[in-house]
């Protein structure tokens, strides 16, 4: 080797070493400079507590934050009523996240061309990346008077189209008892692992699959426990919040306004949990939830088009599972949510969401029920194909956190959804709502997804919040990709998303 090239190599080695050292120093500085984190500033400003008091890492609540929420956003210090606040105090927080993300979908059927004319189609991966925005949330919540609390959350998608994500009034501690609280409005169901306080943001990882799983071709959108629902909630808890119970009665419309869906059907949601003090390990919590409801499968029609709000022909569905929040000392925790779900056989054949709402009160289908893109309607005389069965499935979510400090949290999650009974069983004839001929494969629609990420809060005050958010998600679903051109069997679909953003609120 020539001296000059050796010298170049040495220089390069030194440069690499220096860069590595610099990176190491920066990481160490970032780690050692960690301060307590901040959180939803509207409450932090009101009470003068740092957000880390209520949040494991913003926005995920810790046990103290959960108690604060269960008390109706009150510290219970006789200073909760707005009369005690500076008249200039206005309980508003906004939150939005400028991001860069890369989305990659494994198999997409695309047209092929030759000589300027289409020659057919091919399957290929599509990846896109770029700078983007999340939606915008305007959180406003607190107390109207001692023991009367409220929450209002106008929320937009990234284009600025608004809807009311959460609106409720809550009567707290009725009769001076923490066991009697009643809420009316649109609210999140009493899920211990709150999707509205999820620590991940990607399209796939930003929701809990277990909370939204719908079998392929199934028309029941009403069992999504992760969606905010319209109704009434009773909630009670012990003084230290170790014991919690709740029961909700909600309209079976998946939170959609204007009574377009489920005008005559209701769903019950029940949850209970108990926490145990386990010394140095921390406080552990185990609980259960159950959802049981009915939803319409038949809408009166006019000219063949379903009439909004006329839903009848209710059919049943249920979701139930266990929840555990386990702490392994001050830094490590794991939350587990399981679910067994089942839908009536009619839902399995695509009946239910005949109005085809988009989840925000809008409709996605203006044509006649059963026409392409529009779900079927269970009009009188409808029959089910031979071999139709009630779909059922099991799911689980495992979410672990390493909380180095409230300022720096590492997140990992694995979710699995597994069909235990497909809607199109043995002997099923014809093309079902899945678009497939005959009996469905036993694994059709199964989901596995992994998410890893971290959030770092670079500065700390109790006035505003900023998190540098990094996340990677990979999602696999069986049988939902384009059909293999040779065998005709649907392929599996993989999508992934990489996201980096600055999540801020004030």
């Amino acid at each position: 080797m020539h001296v000059s090239s050796r010298s170049r190599l040495r220089k390069a080695f030194h440069s690499a070493t220096s860069l590595f050292s610099l990176a190491l120093v920066l990481v160490l500085v970032a780690l050692t400079c960690s301060q307590p984190a901040n959180a939803l500033p509207a409450f932090a400003r009101k009470y003068g507590l740092r957000c880390s008091a209520c949040h494991e890492s913003w926005p995920m609540l810790n046990y103290f934050g959960q108690k604060f929420k269960d008390n109706g956003y009150q510290l219970m210090n006789d200073r909760d009523a707005p009369i005690w606040q500076n008249p200039g105090y206005w309980p508003v927080t906004f939150r939005i996240t400028p991001i860069w993300h890369r989305v990659s979908t494994g198999k997409v059927e695309v047209d092929t061309y030759a000589g300027g004319v289409t020659t057919g189609s091919a399957i290929q991966r599509i990846s896109s990346s770029g700078f983007d925005l999340s939606g915008l949330d305007f959180h406003t919540g607190g107390t109207l008077e001692k023991n009367i609390s409220f929450y209002l959350l106008p929320s937009s998608d990234s284009t600025g189209a608004f809807h009311f994500e959460q609106v409720f009034v809550r009567l707290d501690n009725i009769g001076h008892s923490p066991w009697l609280n009643v809420k009316l409005g649109r609210f999140e169901l009493d899920n211990l692992l709150s999707e509205k306080r999820i620590l991940t943001l990607t399209g796939n990882g930003g929701i809990y699959q277990t909370y939204h799983f719908i079998p392929q071709g199934d028309g029941n959108i009403f069992g999504q426990i992760g969606d905010n629902q319209l109704g009434l909630e009773y909630m009670g808890h012990s003084l230290n919040d170790r014991t919690r119970i709740s029961a909700s009665l909600v309209s079976s419309n998946d939170g959609n306004v204007n009574l377009t869906l489920g005008a005559n059907s209701y769903t019950g949601f029940f949850a209970g949990s108990q926490a145990f003090d386990t010394g140095r390990l921390g406080v552990q919590r185990i609980g259960f939830y159950a959802m049981a409801g009915e939803a319409a499968t038949y809408y009166l029609t006019s000219g063949g088009v379903p009439i909004a709000g006329s839903g009848i022909g209710n059919k049943s569905f249920s979701r139930e599972g266990f929840v555990g929040q386990f702490y392994f000392g001050p830094h490590l925790d794991l939350t587990v949510v399981t679910q067994h779900g089942s839908d009536n056989v009619w839902f399995g054949q695509g009946y239910g969401n005949a109005i085809a709402t988009d989840g925000n009160g809008g409709t996605t289908c203006a044509g006649s029920a059963g026409t392409p893109g529009c779900p079927p309607n269970n009009v009188p005389g409808s029959t089910l194909p031979v071999g139709s069965r009630a779909p059922s499935w099991n799911g689980a979510t495992f979410e672990g956190h390493y909380v180095y400090s409230p300022q720096l949290i590492f997140i990992t999650r694995y979710e699995a959804e597994r069909m235990s009974q497909q809607a199109n069983g043995p002997g099923y004839a014809g093309v079902g709502p899945t678009g497939l001929l005959g009996e469905s494969p036993s694994n059709l629609g199964n989901i596995s997804t992994y998410t890893i990420g971290f959030r770092y809060n670079p500065f700390m005050t109790s006035r505003a919040g900023l998190a540098w958010h990094n996340e990677y998600n990979w999602l696999h679903q069986d049988g939902t990709g384009p059909a293999n051109p040779f065998t005709g069997i649907p392929t599996n679909l993989n999508t992934s998303e990489l996201l980096m953003g600055l999540d801020f609120d004030f």
Binding site: P36, G48, Q66, L75, D78, N240, D241, D277, G279
Partner: protein
């Protein structure tokens, strides 16, 4: 030249006089505090260690009490009387809610109870969601801020005799105690915190402080059981104008006073019912002693 020297001496003297109270309140350094990181607390069979409490202190407490425990957290400037009280300065080692005689240090259990119970009408919430171990660690952490815990031992908790049966006579006797020891001077004749001295009250650091209003439905700061109320006036609230009456009120009289104070409170109680039947009138500060 001599004049200038005299002026200089006067100036230095004045500076020394002015500096003395400031120096006596001088903040302890991180190093001073760190030397006591081995502090422990004992709550039942749980031993708390200060060295394990830094993460929960940073998470829950530092915003008000500050990194040095001197009550100068980032939010302290916004906690001003009369609506709020400023966060406790742990470096002074002076605590209101104790089971121990006035002037002594509280027990570990007292501090543990304070963390668990929180303080009404302040921004100190009930931290009863924390594990017992975390709270015990925080007690040790609170203790490590003040050198008092090295040089002194906590006082011996006062003895509280068993609570007697409430009777009309006892309520009337309590009224007499209320008049005799002049509770009304601060708390007002009807317990509404509007006595003649109420507006002048200051804590030991010269900050305005309010007397407790028995009638507005709020809970006494150091607990709302009968035993808690008994303890409050028999130990006093150190650092505030509320003295200990242990030398002025006999234990059986103390229970009478507890029953009488209950008659002011808005919550339903046997005492309140009895007072209504007795048609008890508020004490009259202008009447001769013994006839108030």
């Amino acid at each position: 030249m001599r004049t200038r020297l005299r002026k200089w001496t006067l100036f230095m003297g004045a500076a020394a006089v002015l500096a003395f109270p400031l120096a006596s309140r001088a903040q302890l350094s991180t190093y001073d505090i760190q030397t006591r990181i081995g502090a422990e607390s004992h709550i039942g069979n749980v031993t708390g260690h200060a060295k394990d409490a830094a993460p929960p202190y940073r998470r829950y407490c530092v915003g008000c009490h500050g990194p040095l425990g001197d009550g100068n957290g980032e939010n302290a400037p916004y906690m001003q009387p009369p609506i709020y009280q400023q966060p406790r300065d742990f470096q002074l080692g002076i605590f209101k809610c104790r089971s121990t005689p006035t002037g002594t240090l509280p027990t570990d259990q007292d501090l543990f109870d304070a963390i668990t119970r929180g303080f009404d009408r302040s921004n100190m919430p009930q931290w009863n969601t924390l594990s017992k171990q975390e709270r015990a660690d925080l007690v040790a952490w609170v203790k490590h801020f003040s050198p008092r815990w090295v040089s002194e031992k906590p006082g011996t908790p006062i003895q509280i005799p068993p609570e007697p049966e409430v009777t009309a006579e006892r309520i009337k006797a309590g009224r007499e105690v209320f008049a005799r020891v002049q509770c009304w001077k601060c708390h007002g004749v009807q317990g509404m915190a509007n006595g003649p001295s109420a507006s002048t009250l200051q804590d030991d650091l010269g900050r305005p402080i309010q007397a407790f209003n028995f009638t507005d439905g709020s809970r006494p700061k150091c607990g709302d059981t009968d035993q808690d109320i008994y303890r409050i006036f028999m130990t006093g609230l150190d650092g505030t104008p509320m003295p200990s009456f242990a030398d002025n009120i006999k234990p059986e009289e103390a229970w009478d006073l507890v029953f009488y104070l209950r008659t002011f409170m808005s919550q339903k109680s046997k005492e309140k019912e009895m007072a209504k039947q007795l048609a008890l009138k508020p004490v009259d500060p202008n009447a001769p002693a013994g006839q108030q």
